[in-house]
């Protein structure tokens, strides 16, 4: 009778499918943890941006207030007097009203010649 060569296995042979499953689970778990961390990080970024937005809105409000104060009529008058600028309304004879020129029917105008704005002195300025 031939001798049976028994192969003696020393130690524990880890089955390959089981190892594959463990690796897959490990990868999924790591992926889950990574996603969780990523969400946390995005949440922190959103929170940071919200805070920045609030701060910018406050800054915008303050700048609007400053601008409103700067261009208030009282402030402009103070600035004018500080620089010795005196402004008055014009007299009625200093006001000249210009109207849009009507289409000029002269041949020179039709052929593209130069036209001038028409100046009218209406009775109200006399």
């Amino acid at each position: 009778m031939p001798r049976k060569n028994k192969k003696k296995v020393n130690g524990f042979a880890f089955p390959v499918p089981f190892a594959g499953a463990v690796v897959a689970i490990a990868v999924l778990a790591l992926g889950y943890v990574w996603l969780g961390c990523r969400c946390e990080a995005i949440g922190r970024d959103i929170k940071k941006l919200e805070t920045e937005r609030a701060a910018l809105m406050k800054k915008h409000q303050n700048e609007e207030l400053r601008w409103a104060q700067l261009k208030s009529p009282r402030n402009i008058e103070r600035a004018l007097s500080r620089h010795n600028i005196v402004m008055t309304w014009p007299r009625r004879d200093q006001v000249v009203r210009l109207y849009d020129a009507d289409l000029d029917q002269r041949p020179s105008a039709r052929s593209g010649g130069r036209t001038y704005a028409r100046l009218e002195r209406s009775a109200m300025h006399e």
Binding site: C39, E40, I42, G43, R44, I46, K47, M57, K58, Q61, N62, E64, L65, A68, Q69, K71, S72, P73, R74, W89, P90, R91, R92, Y99, S122, A123, M124
Partner: protein, 575 residues
């Protein structure tokens, strides 16, 4: 032998480790699965985060839209302190003096607040601006911290203070437009429920409930801040020159009823409303009933002409300045003989006006005055409007008609008096006065859009045209309103110098001086009234209120680019 000992040691170590792991596992299981509600609840409470999101109050703009801000919310901070912590560092004096320097407050007042070992919170400064906060923060003072808050701020301080009103510390509008449109301006608060980590930072992923705050709607007024400035300056000049008790003025668009300016003196700083007297807060332009004096003649004569009882050329005998009637004597300032209705108005004859009123009859006169808006509110969109005083006709005495004709025995507000004259200017149509143009939400939705509204038509267009001609004679040579003239423009109006009523009669020293008018006379665009309460030195309407009217009207027509013949007639010229 050695192998056996090693094996035993290995097994014992493994057993101990296993026991420890099992113990931990059991403890974990008990914590998570056991009845530990109280422990879990206390952990959850420490991590819970709830915040009420304050809604920003809407902004108020003038008629130029978002270019000119009249009232807005400002992000500020409250400066707070932990007295216990400060006292623990033994730096009370240093902290108090540094804070006092930055905040401009007395050192000892701050020290008293901080010298409280039993307290861990105290307000040191409320509503402090960011610039000041930056300075305090740089000092790194122990026990000092800040809280975010907002405050209502008015960039123009006292300008249009009575129109805008203010918001109290509870966030409620308490006067003016702030009060009238509070429900639109205030908005709705939001809420945020979430959890925090060990560093007290909010965990965005754990946010449970988030309802954003709904910002208040913005209000756009008809007030023009530049016209308002013109009026405010003119009133300041009156206060300086005539030292009256008070003065007020209104500018209104004749055709639409829009109020372009409304100002009162004394005024107050809206940013310091808590230190202002109640008297200064009164919007006298709509809240004070006063006897209008001779300005009221314009209304009475308009009624008489409209009813056909007189014409502009009807002649009356003015009794040479002294007329006994029903046991009482009525006087003129000058001795006049025979005057036409036109001259009665121009020279402001009391006797002439009284006789004109008698042609109407009491009932007709009363009904037409009510039609003009006297005795009831015009419905302006501001709180505190008075209705004026017009006693019912069955309570009139034998001479009431003669006295009411000269503006005594009847009380009006400046807005009502301006309404009468603007009715004449507007072809007989009495327009509802209004300050608010529109209310718009932050997303652009228009909540309110005011349009011109006709309240009544007390007189016809023909009568109005006649009255415009008659009133324009008041500012001509020989008229009482010479000083109300505007260079280059024809002004129509009426002066008023009314003795103030006192117990048993009228004062001989206290007067209400006024001028009310419109321009350009042929095609009116704006109406203006100026009222001065108890001017000193000079008391006639022509001398006190007339120059102020001229200043206000003259600058306003140029600013608004109103041509001397009015916009409609100017357009006709161009065609």
């Amino acid at each position: 032998m050695n192998d056996r000992r090693t094996t035993v040691r290995f097994i014992m170590s493994a057993a101990l480790l296993a026991l420890a792991m099992i113990g931990l596992g059991i403890r974990l299981a008990l914590l998570h699965l056991g009845a530990n509600e109280s422990i879990r609840a206390s952990f959850a409470n420490t991590r819970r985060y709830e915040k009420k999101l304050l809604a920003g109050r809407g902004t108020i703009y003038d008629c130029r839209g978002r270019a000119n801000i009249l009232a807005l919310n400002m992000a500020v901070k409250d400066v707070c302190a932990d007295p216990k912590a400060i006292l623990a560092t033994n730096k009370l004096v240093e902290v108090s003096s540094r804070l006092a320097e930055h905040l401009g407050l007395p050192v000892d007042a701050i020290a008293v607040k901080l010298n409280r070992p039993d307290r861990s919170f105290a307000y040191v400064g409320r509503f402090v601006h960011e610039d000041v906060i930056a300075g305090i923060r740089a000092e790194s003072l122990p026990g000092v911290f800040f809280r975010d808050t907002t405050v209502r701020y008015y960039p123009h301080s006292s300008y249009m203070c009575h129109v805008l009103g203010f918001v109290n510390y509870e966030g409620a509008g308490s006067a003016g437009v702030e009060q009238f449109l509070d429900k639109y301006l205030r908005g709705s608060p939001g809420v945020l429920e979430s959890r925090v980590d060990a560093f007290r930072h909010e965990l965005y992923m754990e946010r449970g409930r988030y309802i954003p705050a709904l910002e208040g709607a913005d209000v756009f007024l008809n007030i023009d801040q530049n016209v308002q400035h013109i009026v405010e300056k003119a009133l300041d000049a009156i206060m300086e020159k005539h030292k009256p008790k008070a003065a007020w003025a209104i500018v209104q668009r004749v055709r639409t009823g829009e109020l372009l300016a409304m100002a009162t003196r004394p005024s107050f700083d809206l940013n310091k409303f808590n230190t202002t007297s109640r008297s200064a807060m009164m919007n006298r332009a709509i809240s004070v009933n006063y006897e209008p004096g001779s300005t009221f003649k314009a209304g009475i004569i308009a009624i008489a002409i409209d009813r056909g009882t007189v014409t502009a050329d009807t002649v009356f005998y003015c009794e040479k300045g002294r007329w006994p009637y029903k046991g009482r004597i009525l006087r003129d300032h000058h001795s006049y003989g025979r005057l036409t209705v036109a001259d009665i108005l121009k020279k402001s004859s009391n006797i002439g006006a009284a006789k004109i009123a008698l042609t109407l009859g009491n009932k007709r006169m009363y009904d037409d005055m009510v039609e003009f808006g006297i005795g009831h509110r015009l419905g302006v969109d501001l709180p505190g409007e008075e209705a004026g005083i017009l006693h019912s006709v069955d309570k009139w005495s034998k001479i009431s008609a003669t006295r009411i004709a000269i503006g005594q025995g009847v009380a009006v507000t400046a807005l009502q008096m301006l309404g009468i004259v603007c009715t004449i200017a507007n072809d007989g149509f009495l327009m509802k006065p209004y300050v608010v143009g529109s209310v718009v939400e932050s997303d652009g939705t228009v909540l309110l859009d005011r349009r011109p509204e006709v309240l009544a038509r007390p007189i016809s267009g023909e009568t109005a045209a006649v009255m415009r001609r008659l009133l324009s004679r008041v500012t001509e040579r020989g008229g009482t309103g010479l000083k109300a003239r505007v260079d280059g423009y024809k002004v129509a109006g009426k002066t008023g110098t009314a003795q103030k009523p006192i117990a048993g009669g009228y004062s001989s020293t206290a007067y209400m001086a006024s001028f009310v008018g419109f321009l350009p006379a042929e095609d009116p665009e704006i109406g203006v009234i100026v009222v001065v309460d108890e001017p000193r030195f000079v008391h006639t309407g022509g001398a006190v209120a007339g120059p102020a009217f001229s200043e206000i009207a003259g600058q306003t027509v140029r600013y608004l680019n109103i041509s001397p013949v009015g916009t409609r007639l100017a357009a006709a010229y161009q065609r």
